[in-house]
């Protein structure tokens, strides 16, 4: 890791040898393919960008309504809408490259191990993809997605297959809707995962008390936002204890304090999700606030605090 830049405080973090200017990454599915946010601020200030979840073939996703509001949270049933990996590579990434010079996190979903491998390999060929985030935790599709993330063996088999086919670091994005997150994270690590990302959305439901009807078309769907942060912090803490590879913390992060909390729990970097949807400037605000908070709390180097709650 080059140590030539002198900054005070130092926000840099590292993911499998890839140095990020700061730990703030917009989470997959809340930032599109990034370029639309370039209208609002220079997105090169971001640590990186986690791209919209991509599958082998194009997907329309689930019927409307796809969105329900919760107290301090949102339920979504998008259902992996995306134009398919070829169109992502041909159309979306070139648009992103016009406004963004850094590497991105490719988010890969699938319905079979072959799907995962196919799509991951296509991203693996691209120079401006930093890591492959393998999403085995989408609650909004049948016959795939979260099913792979609910048992250690299934998670490990996806991980091993992708790992065997690709050169870039493979990070497994896990579902929180499990009894034992540690055993799943360990199985992924044993299968060669270079990192763990958690948490994907909780499975939640809203019913309209006025009509008695489920609000989103699929009934149960993915629940995220500040409401879920305590679950995310707990799982990051538990998994940090159990694995040696880096953990990326996701779940309800909205402020610089939230970033610090997640990093104290064990996150080497963080992804910011739902916050982007209610404030397009959310990541920018966090990145600007982080050094001020670090100074206030006497943190010189952000990477020093990773997992420190385990030793406090």
């Amino acid at each position: 890791m080059p140590d030539t830049k002198i900054s005070c405080p130092d926000l840099r973090v590292e993911l499998s040898g890839w140095e990020l200017d700061n730990p703030v990454i917009p989470a997959s599915g809340t930032f599109g393919f990034g370029y639309e946010f370039a209208d609002f601020y220079d997105i090169n200030i971001l640590g990186s960008i986690a791209l919209k979840g991509t599958t082998r073939e194009a997907r329309y996703g689930n019927p409307l309504p796809r969105i329900a509001e919760c107290r301090e949270g949102i339920i979504n049933a998008i259902g992996l809408q995306n134009p398919g990996v070829e169109k992502v590579i041909e159309e979306e990434l070139p648009r992103l490259r016009q406004v963004y010079r850094k590497k991105s996190v490719a988010n890969v979903s699938g319905f079979s191990i072959d799907d995962y491998v196919y799509t991951a390999k296509r991203f693996d060929e691209l120079e401006d993809i930093g890591i492959l985030e393998i999403n085995i935790s989408c609650p909004n599709v049948h016959g795939g997605g979260m099913a792979f993330g609910q048992e250690p063996e299934a998670a490990a088999s996806v991980c091993a297959a992708v790992k065997a086919a690709c050169h870039k670091p493979v990070y497994m994005k896990l579902s929180p809707n499990v009894t034992d997150i540690v055993s799943i994270a360990r199985a992924c690590e044993d299968a060669g995962a270079d990192g763990i990302v958690l948490i994907n959305t909780l499975l939640g439901m809203r019913i309209d008390p006025r009509t008695g009807r489920k609000i989103v078309s699929t009934g149960a769907a993915g629940f995220s936002g500040p409401a879920v942060k305590p679950v995310a912090v707990r799982m990051v803490y538990q998994v940090y204890d159990a694995v040696k590879v880096p953990v990326i913390g996701v779940g309800g992060i909205e402020t610089a304090d939230d970033v610090l909390e997640m990093m104290y729990a064990g996150a080497a970097a963080v992804e910011v999700g739902a916050a982007n949807l209610i404030d397009p400037y959310a990541c920018k605000n966090i990145i600007e606030e982080l050094p001020r908070r670090m100074e206030a709390y006497g943190i010189a180097r952000l990477s020093d605090i990773i997992g420190r709650a385990h030793r406090a």
């Binding site: 599915g29 409307l64 969105i67 329900a68 509001e69 809408q81 500040p226 949807l277 209610i278 397009p280």
Partner: protein, 251 residues
Amino acid sequence: MYKKGIYEISENVCIADKVYRMRLDGFTGDITAPGQFINIQLPGFYLRRPISVCDWDEKGVTIIYKVVGDGTELMSGLEKSTKLDVLTGLGNGFDVGALKSGQTAAVIGGGVGVPPLYALTRKLLDRGVSVKAVLGFNEESQIFYDREFSELGAETIVTTVDGSRGIKGFVTDALKDMSFDHYYCCGPMPMLKAVHGLCTDLGIEGELSFEARMGCGFGACMGCSMETRNGTRRICKDGPVFRSEEVSFDA
């Protein structure tokens, strides 16, 4: 492009049954077309509330909204000089350039689909386009802005489902014998479908504004995607206004 800013309520009054008009003072330079919407953050609610722009000038924006849930209930109780965090200039809006001076536009609204047509009507009349406004409501107590449309200079026809005022029936009952060159429509889904069907039969093209439960309101989350003849489109970002040729009600 949209912007986020702080706006101050200078008016918030009931103008019909459960229907309120709110005036928000603040920067409006990002509003570029009638039919766009704004997205309002309300204290105690996680998601913003998307509300169509009724009208705007250099000092502020006027919206008209109906109380349909806890969020709009809270909105209706907000007092003057309350400050709100608002995103403005969202969505594409109507194409006022679709018609030339001397041509005639049918402007068709249903319930709280009426408001965005107000600024549209003003802009069209400014360009020398004749406007026939067809405003549909369920019943008399819900009628609003019929006089305002007349005062702008539009030929204004009201329909009510129960016949308590104007033509008894739906907007299509008023529309079917009318002559116009292009139409603009905003209202509930069954109305959009009926108007689209009628006008297609009449061989007249137009523009339709859709609504949906939204996540972000600016194209990031894919929460309000819709299939069109040109593929999947986001109502919040690629819409809310779509040309009648693109729209498909088959799905």
